[in-house]
């Protein structure tokens, strides 16, 4: 059993408060490179990754991203090349490309955690505005942002849910 991997999975948290310490280029490169190893159906390479470190660009990205509570020092925007998705013959409502955005995000978050960075995903942003700000080519749409930085000592309280199902209630072993 690989304890290090399990420990990383169990100790990773979404970081909502980041310091203004810059993210090192090597750290950023390591996190970015991890997405290569994320499980993607058919290894079709339908996704694009946009790295943002310029302060003015980060500020603009945050302005059009209502879900971005943190002020990241770097961000990786996971995009889907919908033109290629279409060329591949996926129907428009196919969930496949979105599932692969999720696997990339999970991998990037774990990689950030392993390099000592704080990270948090953001999906609440204007796709149209962000595409314009990042000058993305036609057919490529941003679907998720990974915010990166160094975690602040004080974090906002964790999201508490009352009255929801317990973990065990979510699991079915074998046939129901």
């Amino acid at each position: 059993m690989n304890d290090a991997v399990l420990r990383a999975i169990r100790t990773r948290r979404v970081t909502r408060a980041l310091t203004d310490t810059p993210v090192g280029h090597d750290q950023l490169q390591t996190v970015l490179d991890s997405a290569r190893y994320a499980p993607h159906a058919g290894n079709r390479r339908l996704h694009r990754y946009v790295v943002v470190t310029r302060p003015s660009l980060l500020r603009a990205v945050r302005m059009v991203s209502p879900g971005m509570l943190q002020r990241p020092m770097a961000a990786i925007v996971v995009c889907v090349n919908w033109a290629r998705v279409h060329d591949y013959g996926f129907p428009p409502a196919s969930p496949g490309p979105y599932i692969d955005v999720g696997t990339a995000a999970a991998t990037l978050l774990l990689a950030a955690h392993s390099t000592g960075l704080g990270a948090g995903p953001v999906t609440s942003f204007s796709r149209t505005a962000l595409s314009t700000i990042l000058n993305l080519p036609a057919g490529v749409r941003p679907e998720l942002i990974i915010c990166l930085g160094h975690a602040a000592t004080e974090q906002p309280p964790a999201m508490q849910r009352q009255g929801g199902p317990r973990w065990g209630d979510l699991i079915q072993w074998e046939r129901g």
């Binding site: 500020r59 942003f125 204007s126 309280p157 508490q160």
Partner: protein, 112 residues
């Protein structure tokens, strides 16, 4: 006797802050179409918290405590929307703080 509202008003936002808030509100209107209903008040709270944060440095001393309360309250409230009763209670407390400020600011507690 003049009310606080009739005293000289101060400018609390610069253009950069206003643009930031404008962009937030505009894009939040769009993203809300695709988001869970419980996110709507959360986005408004975040906007209120950001406005309070932007305004606080230049606001009059009498307004600053309210801005601090709102900033802190929004930060604590925005991530606990899964507790509906507590959520409403916290929002009501913030609304009451705003109303109490308005009463003082407009001198509503004085005889006309």
């Amino acid at each position: 006797m003049t009310s606080e509202a009739e005293e000289e008003s101060v400018r609390v936002l610069d253009e950069a802050d206003a643009v930031e808030l404008l962009a937030y509100l505009m894009t939040a209107a769009r993203t809300q179409v695709d988001e869970a209903a419980e996110y709507a008040p959360m986005r408004l709270l975040t906007a209120a918290g950001r406005l309070a944060e932007m305004a606080e440095p230049n606001a009059r001393a009498k307004l600053r405590p309210l801005l601090r309360d709102i900033r802190q309250g929004c930060s604590e409230t925005a991530v606990q929307a899964g507790d509906p009763a507590g959520y409403v209670e916290r929002l009501d407390a913030l609304c009451q703080a705003v109303a109490e400020y308005l009463v003082r600011w407009l001198s509503l507690d004085r005889s006309p």
